[in-house]
Symmetry: D4
Subunit: 248 residues, 8 copies
């Protein structure tokens, strides 16, 4: 076995995957809880699904639990049961290990057929005939290194902003169309009950071709924030998958 | 449901876990491929096993594949099959998705019973009667923030240095006992074949109470490095688990 | 004595304290002169009082006196006498050692029964039915390290913003409700006489459940700033304690 | 009252204090647990004592307890009782609040008569006729700002290195006289029992005119480190005070 | 001679100077060309004059000439002749060495009687009865080190903003009174001829007790900028001195 | 040969070139694809042409192709043929090596007679009688080092903003004349077809004496962005050269 | 034309090029003057040649001439004439434009058939049977972003270290085989005449499979440095090409 | 007057000065107290003298006095009297204003005929036939910006290292000839009396063509350091001038 055989095998496989996924049914930006859940349900339903994640690792804000206490909470354990995460009941809540939760969710999304490109950062939107048609991405390392290098493009029938608090894709929309969000983006003060319900209810399409899921929903509709409770995130990911599945 | 109920549930669960794991059969430092494999096989064998990982996410150098092409290679697919990672044969090699590999391995280690503390950084060794008796750890964020705060202690019957290239635990040993490593630590030039064999062969105890596994083995024995081929890492993790299992 | 006995004793005691103080009569954000004085008088009056301070050390702007000359001045020595700080009369002023002042004040607040959580940073407000119901906090080191980790929650019947110049809690309120502070936050030019009187007079409730004390008062009401004279700060801390005591 | 009256009062008082303390019986570098304890006992015994501390706040590594859990442990409560710190017995240990401990200790040292100059960094040693005769200091902010500005001098009959882990003063000695410390400076692995005893035993003079106390002792004699247990630190501070008292 | 004799002599002399200059006829912020020229002419006329300069060295933008070519130009050589700077005629211009210019100007201002406090940064304005009554200053190193330390105060009958492009003092005024400068602060595009005339013409009082001189004039009146030609700067410094001299 | 002979030869030649090019027909800011193409065609037509480029190397965003894949695409190969760049047809596109493209273009522009000053950064505009008359520049290293040093001036009959996305020269215009660009500067979402046509069509004069070319056109007219396809850039550079050639 | 067609064309072309060049006759590390000259002559002679360059742009230290004066000098103009760079005679020297020189050299190397991979950083050596067999590389952006990602491999019959002053490849050799370079690496003081001759003379093989060229030669043999005179660099590049050509 | 006339006048004058000073009797590196004094006495004696200073401003460590108290001390006032600095007697010392001292000294050196190039950093030594023949310099901003740009050369009959504590020129010598300084470079502990005498006594030639003056002398001979007393510095500068004057 030669060193360059390993290099060749990896380059070929990666490029096959990349070229195959330049065109998609659904592209999800952000591999946090909502994005991974959406990816899991969409891939399971047979949609050609790509998740782009700017960090090297997936999981978003799951890993650290609360202030580094690596435990998370949910109100219902249904989706956790489905993806194989053990929970323990504490009063009205279920708690689970944050690391088990992050890895199980990503593992199941991948197994269901979703392609995940990490270290890949959304830089802009492809926009044609007043519709979102895909996402412009770049290598995150290039942006971190502050190098001046052009991006490349990934097309989608439906694009999901699952970037969490900053609602990065909607923020790009707002930058050029500020009139759409006169009150600005950003979640409101913490109020778990209001937020857990609202984030699921408001999950949906915000512009032709563009959906929001997870904390991005709170940012777009100025709903309260919620902290390390992930039930609403998962349900929002599941709901956005169902909404898009119906459309395709 | 009140906000502080979530906080209370998470704090209680985390502290239960932390207090339970202050005393262990085995502590593994580093949740990369070798550390996770070791944790998986040790926990499966019923050992009380704790993995401490300094980053928020687990996986070490797996996520980026080669130069960000998120694909990895192995020579045999046995361990990947066991932990549920799909592979594809390419010539003499098997390739797999890096994200699937990282998440499956951690998920299975956790399910087998290993406790994983992320954002937890080894700062020193507990050392008594010329034997390594555990590890001194701190919150990684505290070190990143350059704050002057004391660490706490986790004891082990056996400590595994699975920190990869820097062999961080052995490096602490060397700092006070430089005579042990007159040629210094650090892997040698790249030579995959030599290294894949050597890393498994040399896996073992380097000081009473302290074992090395994975790239730390190369650093300690100045073996060649190997790049994004992970077969040796996994076998080394499995071997260190077997060696310790025999001893306990 | 084993190393892990020390770790266990500290973890248990800290978590007992933390869980006990998730729910409070009063939470004070900021352990500078006003916050510590408020904490002292509230705890002395028997209120369950928690002070959260983002730095490792308490004292806020006290330590450096003026430009590093570690001496502070007050117009009356009453409160300094009460907390045991030696003063010396210089013309119309009393001067005292800055370090003695900072440590005496915190020591007495703690002895009176206030719990102080340092390295704990307010990140947001808990807000329900148009009332401030507590504070969302995180480990300061996590924010300094720019890690993406969720916070936890501490509830209060009354929350005091004693964060000084930036009026951090009121600034969070203003971010979502800019109409409340059309002229913005921020103290005005220096004018000691006007400010020393005004800061005490304006100390009080600024939103249901939220009080301001100390330099935050100047920031909220655009009063002049005052420099290293601390009489107004202490009186404001005492006054906010009295106002809340009457209400509970 | 005019603004410049406050400025004048503070400048005059600070300069009086500074000029008065250019010449001392004892200068202690570092206002951590050992330095503050030494300062307390020396001042109480009537020695003209100055503590210089490079940070704005005193307390060294006390504030954060273990990994930010702001609780500390001791084996005996005698000195804590003397300086007025409440303790609680837990098994063989006593635990105390870290903030109460830091502030009580500094407050009592100051009240006993020690002068404390914070934001004042030791830069070098005054050295005459093969004896340490004082310390060369500068404004810490100037060093932090990387400005090229000369220091000033403070003389001592006896200088105490209470700078903790780095043993900063002894390190200056070693830089020009490396033959004194052929094995280098630096504490050894963690081993609480050995260290708690050794740090007190080895407290003493290391060069004519220069003493070590607290963690500096461990660094100088390569003793084990000990983590957030502070009994040895306090006893070492008390012992160095007694040794010097006998000499003067 | 002992080391502390040098420390004592310097501390005493500095504090004598500082206390003497807490109260002044004129305080000039900025020791660039305009500020030094103003200081020279005011001190020569017998006014008690203090210049505060945030950097360690005086001279502002003089040292580097144009793009580091350390030569400067003026249209008339009168003021340069007066302060003893050699010039050479080149066409319609006179050129001079930038280093000779900076040092001669500061040397002559000091010799004429102006006190210069370098490493002293204006942080705010003293403001009473709608009049500027002095300046709030701090040690620049403290700001560079991002430490939280209070400032001290220096009073003036007249305060001159000679801070150059940023017009720092006027910017403080504008921050609280934005209505005064609806078009904002900041010089306009480069146009030397227009600017050299305008900067002198517009030099004068901008608020009761506050004058502008030099590039601050361009910033306040949105005049063009001018580059490394210093005739207007010097004339503006001379003019502001004359205007204030007439008033006192 | 002596060392200073080399220094002398280089200094003399550089200064000859610099002094010769202080006055120009056309100054182009930015040596990316549009700026170099404009420089090539203008110099070929005999205009005295200077290109200033802030980086050490020319080429702007060409070097990295897409996400570091150093290949670029065009729709027509005409201009690439003219400057000697090999292309390969792929479907409707031509692809070329990014490094060959960058170097050929700059080499041909220089050979045609354009002077290129790298490490030279535009800092402002020379503006007289409501017309842009040149550019104010400085050494980029001085700005990177955050030193306070004045710039120097280069005059032009026509100035071209070829600075790409930020449209740096137009941004300077907008800063003082915000009413000219009420919708702000900045390209819109990606839409290659619309953009490739629009960028050429809108190339032209935006203010007396100031032209835009390349991505600056998109920024000024809020046209879509386009990624690593360079046909429009080259055509825009050629067009701006033709427009100015007709005027001179 | 669709956006993803451009992405697809670029990805396919880049990967074709990359896979084709995993195996080479010669790999040159560093696209400065010596590396580009070597690449030009090797490719012209028909060798399969790959140049890897860690920066985005090629040219190394050419662009800035001397201290940013973008002019370079040579003693003979032969090679410059061959690659099409205009020169002007000044005494015993020829001077040329630095930008013309850098771009012409790279353009000609590429046209002659050398493949250039920029943003590609050598991280280690492939080493088998005591011979250098290739280079281990990574994406420079990944290293700049301090991400933990494995490299890939490029094999060579002959590897040339043309990395300039740091002699990066030889430094890797020295790190594991310090006995080879007992006097260390690094050029000596400046002495142009000695160096210009020595750098050509010493160009050659330093270890089986590894050659040095350009400033790396000076570093390896501790020859004097030479500054912005490039004759020796070019001749050294030509010579290393001839030496390898003879061997293949 | 046109903007480019100013640019032209400055460029021409600077280049005239630079070309004139490429060849010198004496080059002094460092414009601190010793370097400026040496420059003053050498220029006064008619030697062609160039001072290169890496910072924008001259003065070295003079500006900040002691810890920012901008006052300096000397034992004799002779040289201060000669350069026109006012002093005041305090016990056995004379104190003077630091700013007056720095500016007077540079002003007089310049007036005496020394050329001063600021923002010019020594990067290496010109070394021929085992003799120091000059200095290799670069634009400091280029180094601060971490750009890869070659230096240029300035020749000297005698080179003076007046760089202060780091003895930068001697350190370059030591880097390639470590055997010359087996005990390393660096001043010893503070001891004013010993140092003030020793620094003058040891001032002299350290290698053919290279002299040391000021704090560099202490670094080279491991003499004690001395703090903000400048008598020895000035005498050392005067002595080195006399030694070289005798030789030329």
């Amino acid at each position: 076995m030669k060193e360059i055989d390993i290099s060749r095998a990896i380059c070929e496989e990666y490029n096959r995957k990349l070229l195959e996924h330049l065109e998609n049914d659904v592209v999800i930006v952000g591999a946090g809880p909502a994005g991974l859940a959406a990816g899991y349900y969409l891939a399971k339903a047979g949609r050609k699904t790509t998740i782009v994640e700017k960090k090297l690792s997936i999981g978003g804000g799951i890993w650290g639990g609360a202030a580094g206490y690596n435990v998370i909470a949910v109100e219902d354990s249904d989706i956790l049961d489905e993806v194989g995460v053990s929970t323990e009941k504490k009063g009205d809540l279920y708690v689970a290990d944050a690391i088990e939760f992050a890895t199980a969710l990503a593992y199941k999304a991948k197994k269901a057929g979703a392609a995940i490109f990490n270290l890949t950062e959304a830089e802009d939107i492809i926009f044609k005939r007043d519709r979102v048609e895909g996402v412009v991405v770049n290598n995150t390392a290039i942006r971190m290194a502050a190098l001046h290098v052009d991006p490349f493009c990934i097309s989608s029938k439906y694009l999901i902003d699952a970037t969490g608090h900053p609602a990065e894709i909607v923020a790009m929309l707002k930058k050029r169309k500020p009139e759409l969000y006169p009150k600005g983006l950003g979640e409101s003060f913490m109020d778990v009950e209001t937020s857990e319900a609202g984030v699921v209810e408001k999950t949906g399409e915000v512009y032709p071709g563009l959906y929001v899921s997870g904390m991005s929903v709170c940012a777009v509709y100025n709903l309260p924030r919620m902290g390390p409770i992930f039930g609403g995130m998962l349900k929002s990911g599941k709901k956005v998958a169902e909404l898009i599945n119906e459309k395709i």
